[in-house]
Symmetry: C2
Subunit: 464 residues, 2 copies
């Protein structure tokens, strides 16, 4: 047999700690602001929504946070995840680059999302929470949380954007199989939903509305808390087991540290998961590993947005967070990579980008599917549309390496499989997909609507 394709680790090699990059950041992320008063808020403001342990993690400055045994035990159902050397893809591209990928699609719900869903469910269970509410678009996050709640006997209520609820029933059924209740959003379960339905009974819904409903239920019921699948500091931290395992696996394969680490970028948890442990080597050991986020051209907040305080949701109910954003009312084009259709980026990732410590590039969805089909033919795994953005970045880098004749080492996070996304591939093959490059006018128009505080004004307020 030729050189190993698959690099595996033993169950005992599941990381024992999550890595909190805040400890090593030269500039810490600025604090969140109260959405009403625009004053900095402390941990207590989040108590109605989250269990205290997660709030403490959200504001923690500790470099390493221990993973409870009960969480590692559930992780062991699919972790450590395999790493692969993409030898077939290298051959197809005829590139001198060495391409490795970490494959998170082996989790029960088929993506990296359970890495944070499990500890979130666990800490809620420990603090006596009986039910957790959340929102979901196409269902990737909702199914991860449904699985996690089934592991700890917690009721799970998922508010699923109505158009997805009607048109993409597979993930809905998966959530129900794990025992979750799934409601099309807007629903009559909440005031927010009821009001919206009264105005427009036929609304297709939106992620912003679904967030409002899930938050409302948690905020108004003592036995319920809310859970979010990306953006927040503790969510990003939970994902860092991906990169920690990857470092061990590259060592085991006798590979160099990567020149490039790529991941798709929606709110930041996927990118943070694989890249933060490598950024730690940059920040603490002087390494020079380029970590690059692959975002869609239809929601280019990192490459074309502004660094500004903004809301996490569309309606403006959440705290204001310092983020690269296109504005919380910006509605991205309806690309198939639903997980990347988000207007902003988490506070940590935004600060890292502002400080020049990470990079970003925008990938059009046509290029992303072209890359995904190449990958499937070479490596066998059909990637999720989100993952295809990173695959496209990898192919760009591998082709550049060929032009330069340099043997770069490239790593990327194959965050999930595309089993539930085959209609997207059908659309691609049928020629139904369009390019979604935003014009400068469109970007300017989106950004001009932002009326929330600037980062500079908040810095001045904090100094004053």
């Amino acid at each position: 047999m030729s050189e190993s394709r698959k690099i595996t680790l033993n169950e005992s090699e599941i990381p024992t700690h999550w890595y909190n990059i805040v400890a090593d950041m030269p500039n810490k992320p600025l604090p969140p602001l109260n959405p009403g008063t625009q004053e900095p808020i402390g941990p207590e403001a989040l108590a109605p929504l989250f269990p205290m342990e997660l709030i403490m993690q959200e504001v923690s400055q500790d470099q390493m946070v221990e993973i409870p045994d009960e969480v590692r035990d559930i992780y062991a159902m699919w972790r450590p995840t395999p790493m692969f050397r993409a030898r077939n893809l290298e051959k197809m591209l005829d590139t001198p680059a060495k391409i490795y990928y970490k494959y998170e699609g082996v989790s029960p719900s088929g993506s990296h999302k359970p890495n944070t869903a499990v500890p979130q469910a666990y800490y809620n269970m420990k603090e006596g929470v009986k039910r957790i509410t959340t929102e979901t678009g196409a269902g990737q996050w909702g199914s991860a949380l449904s699985f996690a709640c089934s592991m700890f006997d917690i009721d799970c209520e998922v508010y699923m954007v109505r158009i997805s609820y009607d048109q993409k029933p597979y993930r809905k059924m998966m959530m129900q199989t794990w025992g979750a209740e799934v409601f099309p959003s807007p629903s009559e379960k909440t005031q927010a939903g009821t009001q919206i339905l009264a105005q427009d009974p036929d609304t297709p819904g939106s992620l912003g509305i679904a967030i409002s409903e899930a938050v409302e239920i948690a905020a108004t019921n003592d036995d319920a808390k809310y859970s979010l699948g990306s953006v927040l500091n503790h969510v990003l931290m939970h994902q860092t087991i991906i990169g920690q395992e990857a470092i061990k696996q590259l060592e085991k394969a006798g590979a160099d540290l990567p020149d490039y680490v790529f991941a798709p970028f929606g709110g930041g948890s996927n990118f943070a998961g694989i890249s933060f442990p490598f950024l730690k080597l940059n920040l603490t050991e002087g390494k020079n590993i380029q970590c690059i986020a692959s975002e869609p051209t239809s929601a280019p907040k990192l490459t074309r947005g502004v660094f500004r305080y903004d809301f996490g949701d569309t309606v403006g109910m959440t705290p204001l967070i310092p983020m690269y954003t296109l504005g919380h009312t910006f509605v991205p084009a309806k690309i198939h990579a639903g997980g990347l259709r988000y207007h902003g980026a988490g506070a940590i990732v935004s600060q890292l980008l502002a400080d020049g410590l990470i990079g970003a590039e925008a990938i059009d969805q046509l290029e992303s599917f072209e890359a995904g089909v190449k990958f499937a033919k070479a490596e066998g795994i059909v990637p999720a549309p989100e993952a295809n953005h990173a695959v496209a970045s990898v192919i760009r880098a591998a082709e550049q390496a060929k032009i330069e004749g340099t043997s770069k080492t490239i790593l990327f996070n194959l965050c999930g499989h595309g089993n539930f996304d085959m209609l997207a591939y059908q659309d691609y093959f049928a020629g139904n997909l369009k390019r979604h490059e935003m014009s400068q006018e469109e970007v300017d128009s989106a950004v001009s609507k932002i009326d929330t505080p600037t980062v500079e004004s908040v810095k001045e307020m904090l100094m004053g």
Copy 2:
């Protein structure tokens, strides 16, 4: 952390040989007969359909057949597959039994089928075959072969039963993503299909018709061969890597040899894959491991059929094979476990059953889905409907162990995930599934239509 859940092996522990149980069988399977003359046929009769190396494997008496390096190299994309101790399920059932499962759903197409699709594509490639034809129902086998052909740059033509082609587009898209051409069957590409369409333009198609089309193309085109995903000796043999890995994994976990090995049963490859290496221990080392096939009550050939020569297809084009059968014209009820809707069983498995060396039990689809949902809630993985039959058998055995207060060790083959089968779960939750117990009258009626030679008559002919 508590005792290991997941037992992994290294890439170097992928088996080096397939196990050919024929070598150890006390009674060898009887030879196939020519469908026209009803005379025994030799290997040469299969040459228009299969490459010579596979034909030699089909008739081989060697105990071990070496796996080519190129095949092991592709296997390494997902093998060795993990084994799990189902500790959550044990706890849910409150049973003293120890339950282990081998998980084949980690393959690119999500089932055990690539284990034989890859070597079949490989040997075709080695003998210069440019395209392979096959049939598929819901698409599990077609997608496995499409993947395998993409690995060796062979064109793949899949004749997909029309009703599945129209109603279950996800696997069709997956096949196309891997570069296969997928035709709804019956099609106008063949004489068989053209004739059937002329009679009934709106026919939903059937697996029998699709086989006829795929075989016709291979038989009438020099550059094409045909490939089958179960039943045949070489196909069953390729799957034995599952059980070989399982034995190593049980050793590694410090577990006893199993008291019971369960697998779903359609044509036999799934069951053979996990059980034959354990049967080897029975046959050559005097062990007493009960290997039990879980078939659906709607196609109960092993528990209620007859041991008789019969055709592999509905139309009667294939050689006659000695098999437990309900008759080649028998049409099973439309249960969701499409992979188990087959009238007969492979020759080897049938001989083993006739000799009392394996067992079988029939599971109703309602019991199978009830078991599958329990499993999903406990273990996180949503099983394919086929796999649910084995899960139901496992739960029966675990509950019996509880009644008896004995700590049995149970192993089963979780042959695939249910990601493409969520509509089946939806039907189950909606209460749309019916019991499909056949009456004795229905069984008698099906069996009475069989007009092919008896096993006894062929034995007499061979002796004479």
